[in-house]
């Protein structure tokens, strides 16, 4: 189902993650964490036990990816010289600065403010109904698949290793979510109406992934063709119409979010902020 022969005409593999690429690592980590946090909301509430397990498995994979990336970002930061630290200071959690210890993965996840989060808007949207969850996952996983395919070529060996490990998981997420899109598109009248509604909600959030941010070291605009092709193939099988490209919401990559992210972070970060610098 997944097009493993994909070879985009991208830029040359990008350089190791010094300060220039640091925001990019956070962007990758934030994407994985935020969508993972959303998917975990299904735990105990899924439409069937097997699907409850499947969606929380995906969430676990995503949180695992986020951890590897935050860990790497923290390690890099701790090794930065003072100029590099200044260059990324706007992304460093303010509360952590009072702790007088090295930066850790959890500081990045639990202490950064909304404006410091760099995830795609698509990842933070509410889980909605099952149709919205699986369609969002499909759009996201299809993008992540091509993005991680590129990342595997990175000369930053840490990042390429993370991509290599993660792409196995992403390949499964893509297959699982594509199957659900097809099932709902070609299921009952109600499921078709719901997946169509979900498409109406989500489509304008898909374009952001392909608009490069200044820190982005992959030529994301070059991934769009393969992504559209993948979406079109699955939509054809689901008997869904591919919407025309229109106006896209954007801003998440620069820390300008929807109203939804603030609530997600308030909930997620509450213990770390209430009991600062405690060990859990």
């Amino acid at each position: 189902m997944t097009d493993t022969n994909y070879k985009p005409a991208g830029k040359a593999p990008f350089p190791p993650g010094r300060a220039g690429g640091w925001a990019f690592i956070l962007h990758l980590a934030d994407n994985a964490l935020i969508i993972g946090q959303r998917n975990a909301e299904w735990c105990g509430h899924g439409p069937a036990l097997e699907q409850d397990i499947a969606i929380t498995n995906i969430s676990l994979d995503q949180i695992g990816q986020a951890r590897m990336l935050y860990n790497y970002a923290a390690t890099l930061y701790n090794g930065f010289d003072s100029n590099e630290k200044t260059a990324v200071d706007h992304l460093v959690p303010r509360l952590w600065k009072a702790y007088n210890r090295e930066l850790e993965e959890d500081d990045l996840a639990f202490l950064r403010d909304e404006r410091q989060y760099l995830n795609l808007l698509l990842a933070e949207l509410p889980k909605g109904d099952w149709a919205q969850t699986v369609l969002r996952q499909f759009f996201f996983s299809a993008f992540q698949f091509y993005q991680y395919t590129e990342l595997q070529k990175s000369s930053d060996t840490q990042l390429s290793a993370i991509a290599e490990k993660s792409i196995k998981e992403v390949t499964y997420h893509l297959r699982w979510s594509a199957e659900w899109v097809i099932r709902l598109g070609d299921g009952t009248e109600e499921s078709r109406r719901r997946i169509t509604d979900a498409l109406g909600e989500l489509w304008m959030f898909t374009g952001e992934a392909f608009k490069p941010a200044p820190y982005e070291v992959i030529a994301v605009e070059d991934l769009k063709g393969a992504w559209i092709e993948k979406v079109a193939t699955v939509f054809a099988e689901a008997d869904l119409e591919l919407p025309k490209s229109g106006w896209s919401q954007a801003g998440g990559k620069e820390g300008k979010h929807t109203e939804h992210l603030g609530y997600l972070l308030a909930d997620m970060q509450y213990l770390q902020r209430t009991y600062p610098d405690s060990t859990w």
């Binding site: 946090q37 069937a48 935050y70 299921g187 859990w280």
Partner: protein
């Protein structure tokens, strides 16, 4: 063969520790007793996902979040194996679900208590999973084959959860004053409900005697409860915390801990629907089931369309 003869063969097998398998003859009461017990156990796993699921979004570190999600997911898995084991006795998963959702079937009352702080996650691992393991380890040798095999898997995962729970409590116990206070408070709230998990005292337990004869159960409620108290009274010392029972003390003569009276009035009230979260838990399960109906229907409809297409292609 007469029922008496069949019954004799059945009891001889039980006495000789030979497992009863789905196709074997069994007394109707044995079958009903098992369906009740296994489905109650499965429901407990499923409802038990809710109080812990309550803290997934707020887990205080990414590692703890992963551990908690994986744990709740294991519970869904236990529910699955147990429903499958019960299905071998001639009841469907949908029928059992219906019994849970209508309030006809019971589940472990402990899940009708609220999880109000993070420390509850570790304390549930330690006390609630600990009590469950105490109840469940003997079930690995229970007389009905599919149940016994399901329980072997369940117990392996449960003891892992219990160790994880206790480990997270050790961290809290070495933490700040606020964290230690949070821990003591959680122990105080969960201790008595955990003791109630072993069920009524032996002389008040209606199903126990027959279950012992048929080796569905191997120890009485009071025997298991005593073992649990003895274990926890020692473990709590490792946390430098206390159990909320002024009567708890070592009895040299009995070689067991004595402990105070359980509030059975509370127990029976929570069992019969008056616990703090009974309604909330059942509502959550009903809502998930109802909101999932269109998804399950779509999956069935799509599978049928596919089958029909394959058939017409083959023709």
């Amino acid at each position: 063969m007469s029922v008496q003869e069949l019954d004799k063969i059945f009891q001889d097998k039980i006495d000789a520790e030979i497992r009863i398998e789905p196709k074997d003859w069994m007394p109707e009461k044995y079958r009903q007793n098992l369906i009740r017990q296994i489905s109650q156990h499965a429901h407990s796993e499923i409802v038990g996902m809710l109080p812990e699921g309550n803290w997934i979004s707020r887990a205080p570190s990414l590692k703890r979040k992963q551990i908690l999600i994986a744990k709740v997911q294991d519970e869904a898995g236990h529910g699955l194996y147990l429903y499958s084991a019960a299905e071998t006795l001639g009841i469907t998963r949908d029928q059992m679900t219906e019994q849970l959702l209508s309030g006809k079937a019971k589940y472990s009352s402990i899940f009708n208590y609220p999880t109000t702080t993070w420390a509850d996650m570790g304390v549930i691992g330690w006390l609630v999973d600990g009590a469950a393991i105490m109840n469940q380890v003997p079930l690995c040798r229970t007389s009905y084959g599919p149940y016994s095999r399901a329980m072997i898997r369940v117990c392996k995962e449960e003891s892992f959860h219990q160790r994880q729970g206790f480990e997270s409590l050790l961290v809290l116990s070495k933490g700040t004053d606020d964290q230690r206070a949070m821990l003591q408070d959680a122990i105080d709230r969960w201790w008595w409900p955990s003791l109630m998990m072993f069920g009524p005292t032996d002389d008040e337990s209606p199903n126990s005697q027959l279950s012992m004869k048929w080796k569905i159960k191997r120890f009485t409620n009071d025997e298991l409860r005593q073992r649990f108290v003895d274990m926890c009274a020692e473990q709590v010392k490792l946390l430098n915390m206390t159990l909320p029972d002024p009567d708890l003390k070592w009895n040299e003569e009995r070689k067991h801990y004595d402990f105070g009276a359980i509030n059975w009035e509370e127990f029976w009230n929570v069992v019969s629907g008056n616990g703090p979260c009974n309604k909330q838990r059942l509502d959550a399960r009903n809502k998930a089931w109802e909101k999932g109906a269109w998804v399950r229907e779509a999956a069935v409809a799509h599978a049928e369309k596919r089958r029909a297409r394959l058939k017409s292609e083959a023709a």
